[in-house]
């Protein structure tokens, strides 16, 4: 069933809304003078616009799944849920950028506009149903990200980050495109459903030819989610970028990349066979490496932001574990993980941003004795650290539990044990921060401006899901359970 162009548009409201918001913001921004620091109408427009995007996503969440634009995109509960995560992540990052001192004042509106652009790329990416749309999504996502990375124009690290990001990105996009054209050459279609149908009837020799092509394709996606060995750019980019940008990077492109990986794995490799075994094998090795390298590298870090950057690499590895299970249980566990990861990451980065704004850097030592000055913030930060490590009764634990459950249901015990040992390693460096915050004497009595009442309230509001989703997670399970993938005919 092919929907007409107009009918397709009616399913495409959230994306259209995001585009409209972006365009509207460009106009609003140009109406301001250079010296107007507050730009209250601009931010009002931003959050209203994104709020409408969110509303329309919620509204269409329960609609039945369909393929739109002659089958080049699909709208299904899975993609809607991922989009909701992306929009929330974007909104929170924009608010953080507004509050942070890490971004030059006159660039803040530009951050908002460009991050919405990245968001649109991400939304295309998680709905993409053929290679072309996928490529467009990845490129939209990437090109604007390069600019965001080098936002601190006068800072060497930031320029380096931007250059590194774009060089790596360019190369991996090229490799990916080559892989895609190879797949097209062998199979004669770029439509996902067509590819999966052709894969089933392909003789083994052709599959062997295709494998390198899939590997190249994987390189492009793996680069976006910073999977080892395509992760080299990540720590430098995360460190060089302003913290709100880092926050944004560790949520939006990563979750969108994982979503693509889920869709591709489910559609292409859903049926058992040699191809599936190989794909699962590759993903297993990459996931295990990603977790381990991320965690081991995080141990020695002196900057909290860099530590979180490495830890987010390892979290991507854990999410990949859910992907490689290639069944409903796995998809569900990945979505659950993504939701909890969103809140944990946001809270952690918010707190790091405000501390870093005060002192100009985010070394571990700046967190010494924070409990004396800001007990509530410290308790929340400690809670998030425990949650990231996977200590019950916090949501991070339940997320890991789901992933483990999916792994064990397929009898991948070794991977489960590797993941388990990794969370012990991660606990070590998370505890390092907790220790400094709570056991050590404070360095000074200075007030951290960022911890105003409004920001503290927001942090508490984002921390509530971290705790509550660890205890009452039945509802979220229902939600992720319903977020099924739609495989277009």
């Amino acid at each position: 069933m092919n929907l007409s162009y107009l009918a397709s548009l009616s399913h495409y409201v959230p994306e259209l809304m995001a585009v409209l918001t972006m365009v509207m913001l460009v106009f609003i921004e140009s109406s301001y003078g250079r010296n107007d620091k507050k730009r209250s109408f601009f931010y009002f427009g931003t959050f209203i616009g994104l709020g409408f995007v969110l509303l329309s996503l919620f509204d269409s969440y329960n609609d039945h799944s369909t393929a739109i634009f002659t089958g080049s995109m699909v709208i299904d509960p899975f993609s809607s849920l991922v989009k909701i995560i992306l929009v929330v992540g974007t909104m929170a990052s924009i608010y953080l950028a507004k509050e942070s001192k890490d971004i030059y004042g006159h660039l803040k509106p530009e951050f908002a506009i460009m991050s919405i652009g990245v968001l649109i790329g991400g939304m295309i990416l998680c709905s993409a149903n053929n290679f072309l749309m996928l490529y467009i999504g990845i490129e939209t996502l990437s090109i604007l990200s390069y600019v965001l990375a080098s936002f601190k124009k006068n800072d060497e690290m930031s320029s380096e980050a931007g250059l590194k990001y774009s060089l790596y990105g360019g190369v991996s996009a090229g490799v990916m495109l080559f892989g895609m054209s190879h797949i097209f050459g062998v199979l004669g279609t770029i439509q996902f459903s067509g590819v999966s149908a052709r894969l089933l009837e392909l003789p083994t020799t052709d599959i062997v030819i295709l494998l390198p092509a899939f590997l190249m394709f994987f390189a492009g996606v793996g680069y976006k989610i910073a999977a080892v060995p395509f992760h080299m750019w990540a720590p430098d980019v995360y460190e060089g970028s302003p913290i709100p940008v880092t926050t944004f990077f560790s949520i939006v492109p990563k979750v969108a990349g994982i979503a693509v990986l889920v869709r591709v794995s489910m559609i292409f490799f859903g049926s058992p066979g040699a191809l599936q075994v190989t794909w699962v094998g590759i993903l297993s090795v990459v996931a295990a490496l990603t977790m381990t390298v991320g965690n081991v590298s995080a141990i020695g870090q002196k900057s909290v932001k860099r530590m979180l950057a490495y830890s987010s690499i390892s979290h991507a590895g854990v999410m990949m574990l859910g992907v490689l299970v290639i069944n409903e249980l796995g998809v569900q566990s990945v979505l659950f993980y993504a939701v909890t990861y969103l809140f944990m990451t946001l809270v952690a980065f918010y707190i790091v941003t405000f501390v870093s704004d005060k002192y100009g850097n985010d070394h571990f030592d700046r967190f010494r004795g924070l409990i004396v000055r800001y007990p509530l913030m410290t308790v929340i930060m400690a809670m998030v650290m425990f949650s990231l490590a996977g200590v019950p009764p916090l949501s991070g634990f339940v997320a890991k539990f789901n992933i483990f459950g999916a792994l064990v249901s397929k009898k991948y015990y070794t991977l489960a044990v590797i993941a388990g040992i990794n969370s012990v390693v991660s606990l070590y460096y998370y505890l390092k921060l907790v220790r400094l915050m709570i056991f050590k004497e404070q360095e000074s009595n200075e007030v951290i401006v960022g911890f105003g009442t409004a920001n503290q309230t927001l942090i508490v509001a984002m921390a509530i899901p971290v705790l509550m989703l660890g205890i009452f997670w039945s509802k979220l399970m229902e939600l992720t359970d319903g977020a099924v993938l739609f495989i277009a005919p």
Partner: protein, 513 residues
């Protein structure tokens, strides 16, 4: 099915109510916080006494009267399921008693009183949770939650090297738990394939050797499902006990922790490990447990001898007691490995008795430390740390003698009964181990008496002359333990009667394999 009583809910959540109360009391009102916490633990103690009175000692297994069972997460069939039987009740009683005493002994804590008591009550709640849970998932959650307050209690209120000890404790236990988690999920997924027909985390449903015929492939080799995951669970619980070679966190944690926390660590926390064997590892994997029984017994023996030898070499008296715990937990492992009526009863009784006697010793050392601010029997520079305490602190010495002899296993005191039962059990099981373990007893007597001689006899050294004898508060909280140690040495049947039926049921299950 819910029983007609809500007592288990009350006892589990009472400490949490206590935590909330502490959080609402202003920081400056330290005495109010102390009295509130004491009041709270006394209520918990009272509820446990009610539990004891309502408990039907003739019924083996879980008592339907107390059963609490609600659906928690329906997608995974996870229940909020609490229950109590003859193995968990002694542990609940011990926990309630020790926490009340520890609140009294923590009266002298000066550093952020509010945080201390809040975390302490939180710890109590999570420990009750471990002993009451009948759903594996719930059990695991409490098992892990307990680490958080413990981490902070050691890390903030501990001695000089507290951070290292706290982190080591946390990481070690977390590592063990992760293996347990994998095993737990594997059980869940395997349970649908057994006669249960559904996936479940219910410990009672999983018990009874349902998994012994299952095999699994790993790297091309075939493993027995139950043996592999028994080992996973074993490591998880063994770290807590601690069984050699997983014991290295213990001396640090015990020595660095503040007195009350050492008491809880030695008195209750270590028992969670052996309780795990009794509640989970043995009933769920009976065949594998029988298969590995010899191994467990030998490890227990190593614990006894190695712990005792290490204790002998210590010059820090708290470290000495810490190692003596390693040694005494070895006896519990021996009793478990014997898998006979006497051995198992002895093991559970030893869990209870070790809880009281070691708690006494740690409390006594805490009392002494408040006066001396050091714990050296022999200082690093070779001079004596204490001497002639007997003439200076006569009342203190009497209590110390009771505790020491109970710990040594002198007839007439509680330690003797349980150790005798364990030896009866293990004798049938393996005579070599029995004989070697007896040497452990001998070394135990040696290090305790030697320590006693060096600290309490001889010339009074100058600084000891300033020490004051135990005060009324200290006598108040030591006396229930003294009574318990003496009473259960002469008349152990109150405790034995509680556990008899349940232990008998477990033993008869094990004897089928």
């Amino acid at each position: 099915m819910n029983g007609s009583s809500n007592l288990l809910n009350w006892i589990l959540w009472m400490p949490i109510i206590g935590v909330l109360g502490v959080l609402f009391i202003p920081k400056a009102k330290e005495n109010l916080i102390r009295f509130w916490s004491l009041f709270n633990t006394v209520i918990s103690l009272a509820i446990s006494v009610v539990l004891y009175m309502k408990f039907d000692q003739t019924v083996p297994g879980m008592q339907a009267f107390f059963n609490v069972d609600y659906m928690w997460i329906k997608q995974f069939n996870i229940h909020y399921h609490l229950g109590i039987d003859g193995i968990s009740l002694p542990m609940i009683l011990l926990t309630s008693l020790l926490f009340t005493i520890c609140i009294l002994s923590s009266w002298t804590i000066k550093k952020s009183v509010k945080g201390y008591f809040a975390l302490f009550l939180f710890l109590q709640g999570s420990i009750y949770g471990v002993f009451l849970s009948l759903d594996f998932f719930l059990f695991y959650v409490f098992w892990e939650v307990m680490l958080i307050p413990m981490f902070f209690l050691i890390g903030i209120w501990g001695g000089e090297n507290r951070e290292y000890a706290a982190v080591k404790f946390f990481l070690y236990t977390f590592f063990g738990s992760i293996l347990m988690l994998v095993g737990m999920i594997a059980l869940y997924h395997a349970s649908a394939g057994t006669d249960l027909g559904v996936n479940t985390f219910d410990i009672l449903a999983l018990s009874g050797g349902k998994f012994q015929s299952l095999n699994m492939e790993l790297f091309g080799y075939t493993f027995s499902f139950s043996k592999l995951f028994f080992v996973f669970m074993f490591i998880g619980f063994a770290i807590k006990v601690p069984v050699f070679p997983f014991h290295t966190w213990l001396p640090h944690a015990h020595v660095q922790a503040p007195t009350a926390i050492s008491v809880v660590l030695a008195g209750v926390l270590l028992k969670m490990g052996t309780y795990g064997f009794l509640r989970i590892a043995f009933p769920i994997f009976p065949a594998a447990s029988v298969y590995f029984a010899n191994c467990i017994a030998w490890l227990g023996l190593v614990n006894i001898i190695y712990g005792a030898l290490c204790a002998m070499a210590q010059s820090d008296v708290k470290k000495l007691i810490a190692y003596s715990s390693v040694s005494h937990m070895g006896f519990v492992m021996l009793g478990l490995a014997a898998m006979s009526i006497q051995g198992m009863n002895g093991a559970v009784l030893q869990m209870f008795n070790h809880g009281t006697s070691t708690a006494m010793l740690f409390l006594l050392i805490g009392i002494l430390y408040e006066r001396s601010h050091h714990r050296w029997i022999i200082r690093p520079d070779g001079t004596k740390g204490f001497g002639g305490l007997y003439t200076q602190l006569p009342k203190y010495t009497i209590i110390f003698i009771i505790a020491m002899f109970a710990s040594m296993g002198l007839p007439g005191l509680s330690g003797f009964i349980s150790e005798a039962l364990i030896f009866l059990g293990i004798f049938e099981f393996n005579k070599t181990i029995t004989v070697l373990a007896l040497f452990g007893l001998l070394i135990g007597a040696a290090y305790l008496l030697w320590m006693f001689k060096r600290m309490f006899f001889g010339e009074v050294i100058e600084e000891c002359k300033a020490y004051t004898d135990v005060n009324a508060r200290e006598v108040l909280y030591m006396s229930p333990l003294c009574v318990a140690v003496i009473l259960f040495g002469i008349w152990p049947s109150p405790v034995l009667n509680i556990m008899k039926a349940s232990v008998g049921q477990l033993v008869s299950l094990m004897s089928q394999f």
